[in-house]
Symmetry: C2
Subunit: 394 residues, 2 copies
């Protein structure tokens, strides 16, 4: 019997990974992952890469890519010199590095509820006690003795809710982090996928004194298979993050970095992004119409102003494990909302539904099936009150 | 002031990273890194990759690459089904994952002395107490109460010494891990770079009951810039390693995996490897001759049967920090041996010298400079006994 570390005793496979594996089966309609539309890759150019990329590269990332990212951040209102840009092997790596840097067993970490499930998983793995940060009063309950070391937020088209924080909410969190010396960790992979106007200036740009980490991704706007993301950080944190990056994988693959730089320098990039945003806006609107058609009587949701997800809350409690099982057998996948919660909750159950991957007809068919299964479960529940009692504690 | 985790309090930048950065300056003769010869990339083919690689991929790695790696391992005597092959973002990532899986603060970890410095760094970062494993008696001092959770070895052309374990030494470690239920972690990036015949069958292939992790790399035989490595593991450890991989970076970049698979399937791969091994054997022999010429009177070494390094031990104590500083100013880099030691030592100082990267004339010039500086330091030491006393505690 292998003697394993304390931290892996509670380690379970991510529901997302299991879901993505199931999503590989042909004919499966998947609302489960956060996959870009496959046809969004058609206009990505992949010329043969130069051989100079085959040698080891710097842990910080390619200098030209760091400079291009710094220029890009400046355009969105976040000033950070290229020397404090770290290229990541996808932004999931940034979560691992930030967790390693801040979290000991018992360390308090602020999170939204719901929040990105793979961040929750990484924070818990390092022993974090997660505490909910409320947008309307972020420093509620913070004191010199009890305040998070790190607060993680995904304020622009959040995964899973699609919510975009207002300017006032952004200002309030920045001020709270400044006042209580809490590291602000802002995860911002969806910002470019904006379908309606809304405030998007990073919260990190509003911070005056607190340590901060801002991260972004090429996975949602270019290609996840490259595994390239980036972070910018305050000067007190950056050298540690660089050392941790080097210990994690020496440096990010140079081919992906080269293609990412090419995409940033492409004069047609603006046009390409407009096409992508327009295609996803169209999918979102069609998805909203299908939702109304098929789930209008059993659920509520807000139409997201950007990003890749609808957060759909049922208007009665049903057994979500059973629903997921039946949906999978009927060829439809979704992610149950409970995976995104830092604590078990008595609230009505939710589903996270991705609208970028499935085509419109396919999505409509999938939602029709889902609506039927939800309605059946609700009717069964009315007929068998004992089932309701058994299920209620969940 | 950011509140950081306990584990980063002692985190220092790797000397290797700092060294690789210094090695970028033009005209620097670097014996410091473990870089492949740049001209070894000339016969690597880089056709444009297919667009299907742009989407997310499986955390385990590409199925075809996992199958090809499993077939390769079978050829070298290690039977492991493709289902227990995990593709890594370079084998440095395997060290991070194995450390996460086994090490809590205070966990005992067995290591060679000297050993790979970035492994030491990762193990210490998670709080390991490192204990030396002796090849001639690996279970020495192991008991039910005090034995490592994990023993890390690099038995084939070790970094830094170049040593290759004999069959008897391999059998003894496998038996010790079996008897004491210690996870064997075998790191094997250099095995294909064999210049003289010697035993290379993995120690993991000799294990009967103990948990094990075997890892290899494409960085030394194909291209480090791809950042692709792999591990195979016993069935009790594999599911945990997969979950940890997914939390670390979701999956390894798919472009590098595609080029790695192509290289394994290339019918000319055998020829290419023969050319590479022959070129490095030639460099090793020329390096040995230059060492004899320029350091023969001040140092000892064994000619390595494979790998990328000479481990050169001086025959008198000198200030190695001063030597490194003077060498750098004179345009020569090396890695001081102390970075590879799990404990401070009173032994005579050593240098790790890489022979694969610099050309032969360049290497000869570099060793001439190094020999002169070492001789000067030894003579200064004789003339100033006070300096010797001050330096002795180091």
């Amino acid at each position: 019997m292998a003697r394993l570390s304390e931290r892996v005793r509670d380690l379970h496979g991510s529901p997302v990974r299991a879901m993505l594996a199931a999503a590989q089966s042909p004919n499966m309609i998947s609302f489960a992952g956060g996959l870009p539309a496959s046809d969004s890759f058609e206009d990505v150019d992949l010329p043969p890469p130069p051989k100079s990329l085959l040698q080891y590269g710097p842990s910080e990332g390619e200098p030209a890519l760091r400079a291009a990212v710094a220029a890009e951040l400046s355009r969105i209102g976040l000033e950070c010199p290229p020397e404090r840009i770290l290229i990541l092997s996808g932004s999931q790596q940034g979560i691992d590095l930030a967790a390693k840097l801040h979290i000991d067993p018992g360390t308090m970490v602020g999170v939204e509820s719901p929040t990105y499930l793979a961040a929750l998983q990484a924070f818990r793995f390092f022993g974090a006690r997660c505490r909910v940060v409320h947008r309307n009063n972020p420093a509620h309950n913070w004191s010199a003795k009890a305040r998070p070391a790190l607060t993680y937020v995904n304020p622009t088209f959040q995964n899973p809710t699609g919510y975009c924080w207002s300017a006032a909410e952004r200002d309030a969190l920045a001020a709270a982090c400044d006042a209580h010396d809490v590291t602000l960790f802002e995860d911002d992979p969806y910002r470019a996928l904006a379908y309606d106007p809304c405030e998007r200036t990073p919260i990190c740009a509003r911070v005056k004194r607190a340590p901060w980490i801002y991260q972004g991704s090429f996975s949602k706007t270019l290609a996840p298979g490259l595994r390239v993301g980036f972070l910018a950080a305050s000067s007190d944190l950056f050298p540690h993050l660089l050392n941790l990056k080097q210990a994690a994988d020496l440096h990010t693959n140079r081919l992906g970095q080269w293609y990412a730089l090419r995409s940033l320098q492409d004069p047609k990039r603006g046009e390409r992004m407009e096409r992508l945003v327009s295609r996803y806006r169209h999918r979102r609107d069609a998805f909203a119409a299908s939702l109304t058609r098929h789930l209008g009587d059993v659920a509520d949701w807000a139409v997201p102003a950007g990003g890749l997800f609808f957060w759909v809350t049922l208007n009665a409690r049903i057994d979500m494990t059973l629903l997921l099982d039946r949906a999978r057998k009927a060829g439809v996948l979704f992610t149950p909302g409970e995976h995104f919660l830092p604590y078990p909750s008595d609230d009505l159950p939710s589903l996270r539904l991705n609208f970028s991957h499935a085509g419109e007809l396919e999505a409509d068919r999938g939602l029709e099936i889902l609506g039927r299964l939800i309605r059946e479960a609700m009717e069964n529940r009315k007929r068998t009150p004992r089932y309701e009692m058994a299920a209620a504690p969940h």
